[in-house]
């Protein structure tokens, strides 16, 4: 069995993360400006206003997206905001319904009165544009097969002008379509909870006002949880996350030490 330096790096990572997960723990965090801005935005919505939430992610990123989605849903449900769930990805459909259902139950919210899940429509651009014209025509039925007109909370919700904003929960670039079509064409306010990897991609959109507010990554989820005062898995995984980050930093430093040493001996 031939062990290379990369194998050692692999083993090290597995060991530190597994130990951190077994130990557990919950550190305190100072929320960043991004999280505070999102929190203020959701808190400013009047109870009873309707917000659309779009689950634009796949199953494979659930470990990161789940805590973000729950933090948002908890805040919205606790404020009495009514939520309309949709999904632009086939894989996000089952997950979106499950998340809304579970979180809604925590706050005694009733399906059909406080929240509803419409489900998935293919071709994201077409779906976004079609809803801009008419949501009921795009979704004649909800995810569970109820007719749109029979759902009490949807009475009077025709298109984006009857919705306070859309919150996209995304692991990739789908939020771009909400901004480039939903916002540019119909003027809907777009906010997003995104995977950390996407944060720098969306920065210019946030700076140009095409996006209203953004929270990113597990750290963002943990910050948001501390802002709304509930615990969640975002905080729980933060210890493992911190340890993993430190481990990567140690590797970077180690790599440079080896590099400069070999250069040094090479010169001699």
């Amino acid at each position: 069995m031939k062990i290379e330096s990369r194998h050692l790096a692999f083993i090290g990572l597995a060991v530190v993360v597994v130990i951190a997960m077994l130990v557990g723990g919950r550190p305190d965090l100072t929320p960043s400006a991004d999280s505070v801005r999102m929190h203020e935005y959701i808190a400013s919505l009047a109870p009873g206003s309707v917000v659309m939430v779009s689950f634009d992610h796949e199953a494979s990123s659930l470990p990161e997206i789940g805590p973000l989605a729950k933090a948002f849903l908890r805040h919205a449900f606790s404020r009495g905001v009514k939520l309309v769930g949709v999904s632009l990805l086939a894989e996000g459909t089952g997950i979106g319904y499950r998340l809304m259902e579970e979180t809604g139950r925590e706050y005694d919210c009733e399906y059909g009165k406080d929240f509803v899940f419409l489900g998935f429509k293919p071709q994201w651009v077409a779906a976004i544009v079609a809803m801009g014209e008419s949501i009921s025509k795009t979704y004649p039925e909800d995810y569970l097969g109820n007719t749109y007109q029979d759902i009490p909370m949807l009475a009077g919700v025709v298109n984006y002008s009857d919705v306070a904003g859309v919150v996209s929960i995304a692991d990739g670039s789908l939020t771009t379509h909400w901004m480039e079509y939903g916002h540019a064409r119909y003027g809907i306010t777009v906010s997003a909870f995104v995977a950390a990897a996407m944060v720098t991609t969306y920065d210019p959109y946030l700076a140009s006002g095409q996006m209203h507010a953004m929270v990113g990554g597990l750290r963002g989820a943990a910050e948001y949880e501390s802002l709304i005062g509930v615990g969640g898995s975002g905080g729980r995984a933060m210890l493992a996350q911190t340890v993993a980050h430190l481990y990567v930093i140690v590797l970077i430093i180690l790599g440079n030490v080896v590099y400069f040493r070999s250069r040094h001996t090479g010169r001699k």
Binding site: R6, S60, T200, T201
Partner: protein, 266 residues
């Protein structure tokens, strides 16, 4: 003119919100057309070097010497409508010309059946031009899976089994980028990457030997093919950049003097 546009707008044929885009688009198109058709014949300006380009020849030479295959893949993120994919196919055509000449195996896995179809056409033509169409193997240009990590697993497997001497990762990549680049590194391949996906660029820069950043990919396709029209459009893009910089500076000064102005907002 203004009467015509007023009529068009009033009958809803032109969306007034999009008028600025239309005007800027026409100006940009005008500049591109002018550079392409009227200035094409002018002497070739001394272009700036792109480091990844020489490496392309080097990578092909290396594979030939070592008698090992070349692996070329356009990433999971693109489809045939994406300009990046088209630029990547241009470079593929150049690479295939060389592999046909030197009789070196070229393997091209892709996630998109349409890209597969076009790539087969491109490579077949290259082999025909070199007069050795019999050496072209359609199976080498293959569709693996549309699912992101199905594709990543398949290309990973190919890399570890074929042990290619050189790997080209040119196109639109998503999260699979680092999986491929690190596996390629573990088999000791020389790797040339290029993409417009900004997140993945950070990984390519860390893990690959040469990286074409964003627009460099478009320019590279022009340099390699030596196509005068592509080079002309690279020049047109440069003129547009100069215009943009002038605009930025002027508009910032203007906005500072007259903060209420808004002509610079699109």
């Amino acid at each position: 003119m203004s009467l015509v546009s007023a009529v068009l707008i009033s009958t809803a044929w032109i969306d007034p919100d999009r008028l600025p885009v239309l005007i800027c688009g026409l100006v940009a198109i005008g500049i591109v057309l002018y550079t392409t058709f009227w200035r094409r014949g002018q002497e070739r300006a001394r272009m700036r070097e792109i480091p990844g380009l020489k490496a392309v020849e080097e990578a092909i030479g290396r594979a030939t010497e070592m008698a090992r295959p070349i692996l070329y893949t356009p990433g999971w993120g693109g489809d045939i409508q994406r300009p990046t994919t088209i630029a990547s196919l241009n470079i593929l055509s150049h690479v295939a010309d060389k592999t046909a000449q030197y009789d070196c195996q070229l393997v091209y896995p892709t996630h998109d059946p349409v890209i597969m179809t076009v790539a087969q056409e491109v490579v077949r033509e290259s082999y025909a031009r070199a007069g050795c169409e019999d050496r072209f193997r359609e199976d080498d240009i293959r569709y693996v899976s549309s699912s992101q990590f199905g594709y990543a697993a398949a290309v990973d497997g190919l890399i570890s089994r074929l042990q290619p001497a050189s790997i080209f990762l040119l196109g639109t990549f998503e999260a699979e980028s680092l999986i491929l680049a690190e596996t390629g590194n573990s088999v000791g391949a020389i790797q040339i990457a290029g993409t417009d996906s900004t997140i993945q660029l950070s990984f390519f820069i860390v893990a690959c030997d040469y990286t074409l950043i964003g627009e460099e990919l478009f320019a590279a396709s022009g340099y390699l093919s030596g196509d005068a029209s592509i080079l002309a459009s690279v020049r047109a893009q440069d003129s547009l950049k100069v215009l943009i910089v002038v605009f930025l500076v002027l508009a910032t000064i203007w906005a500072t003097i007259a903060p209420d102005s808004s002509w610079w907002r699109f």
